[in-house]
Symmetry: C2
Subunit: 222 residues, 2 copies
């Protein structure tokens, strides 16, 4: 009885959110701001990768970053050092961002002078996947130490993402991680997924991801 | 308006769950079964650590394992190889286990012949921390590749846990992970936290955790 009630509430919340996300996407399209939603487990390397991407693209695109966390401001401080505008969003204990929270964040950030807005979602492979933020594209990071079986265990996030970064390839020799298997499992969830093995720390492979991102921004404004 | 409504629903759900968790804990106490709730990010090493713990303790304690996942059965299959009874719980998309789901799992597992029941929760540092499962103690794993700043970003899980395993110490040389800082941050969240640095893969440091677990089971039945 209890379980049924909870699920119904959740479905209403999700339906409301989907509608708001669609509205936000239309507003962003009209305003020529492309929003990327970046998701991963805690510690997969979202902030480090963002730093490298921002350093490469800030000469060509006007970038704004929203760092979402349950608590703390270490990520926004880190991004500010890379010379792009950034704000910290506190979710107040919530495990994900929804479209309303994202819209509020974008309004605080200011999007008039932003071509590429990046939302660093809360570190979590489950709940963020359920809530459409209104982003143009979803990008996720899986890092080598997490293991190649993750697409089997967390199917939804691999399904809703447009691109998958496989990060920390520099430590491949020290982990039992099968690159072919992870690709096979991920493509089983989502045959259209673009996959970018890279190392955010050293920068190896980051250029290919940046090229993909530039294509997305161009297509958004076409 | 919407946000307020969601929060109220969540508070009701949490209050109901707390009551059910307390009831389950009393039942387990009466039945002399100690339940450990194991939480971590995806890929921190829960299943590997459990295998090592079970191998060391199965001669002294009757152990039963519940592997919770959104999908898949790889973990329950892995545990069965270690010669203890194990079942797989599918959460059907839910990002955590609550006390009702845990009770249902325990009833499927059967606890009459179990001294130590272990629940491997869904890989997630956020939602599982909010839902009391009815366990006697909560144990979490943070792995070296995730970084030492996690107690700053995911405060609640460090607060509700009784013990913290710092796993994958074998790869310390390849990551910028500060062991002293992580201890300082974690103890700031929870001064009573027991901390066990170890490597589940090689077994280094696992004995100290097993000693702690045996003490908890003994205290539960005292």
């Amino acid at each position: 009885m209890d379980k049924v009630r909870i699920i119904e509430v959740k479905q209403n919340v999700l339906a409301n959110n989907d509608r708001k996300a669609e509205e936000l996407r239309e507003e962003l399209k009209a305003g020529k701001t492309f929003l990327l939603n970046l998701m991963s487990s805690p510690g997969a390397g979202k902030t480090t990768l963002l730093g490298k991407v921002v350093d490469r693209l800030k000469g060509e695109l006007r970038i704004g970053v929203m760092e979402a966390d349950i608590d703390g401001d270490v990520d926004a401080l880190a991004m500010a050092k890379h010379g792009v505008k950034s704000i910290q969003l506190h979710t107040g204990g919530m495990c994900h961002l929804d479209a309303s929270m994202t819209k509020q964040g974008l309004s605080e950030l200011g999007t008039d002078d932003v071509d590429l807005a990046i939302l660093e979602n809360v570190g979590n492979l489950v709940c963020p996947a359920e809530f459409d933020t209104g982003a143009g594209k979803n990008l996720m990071i899986l890092s080598v130490p997490e293991g190649h079986d993750k697409p089997l265990k967390y199917p939804l996030i691999f399904t809703v993402c447009d691109a998958l970064v496989i990060n920390k390839i520099d430590v491949l020799p020290y982990f039992d991680f099968d690159m072919e298997k992870v690709k096979e499992y991920a493509l089983m969830r989502n045959p259209k997924l673009k996959i970018f093995p890279l190392c955010a720390k050293t920068g190896e492979g980051v250029d290919a991801l940046c090229d993909w991102l530039k294509e997305q921004v161009a297509a958004w404004n076409a």
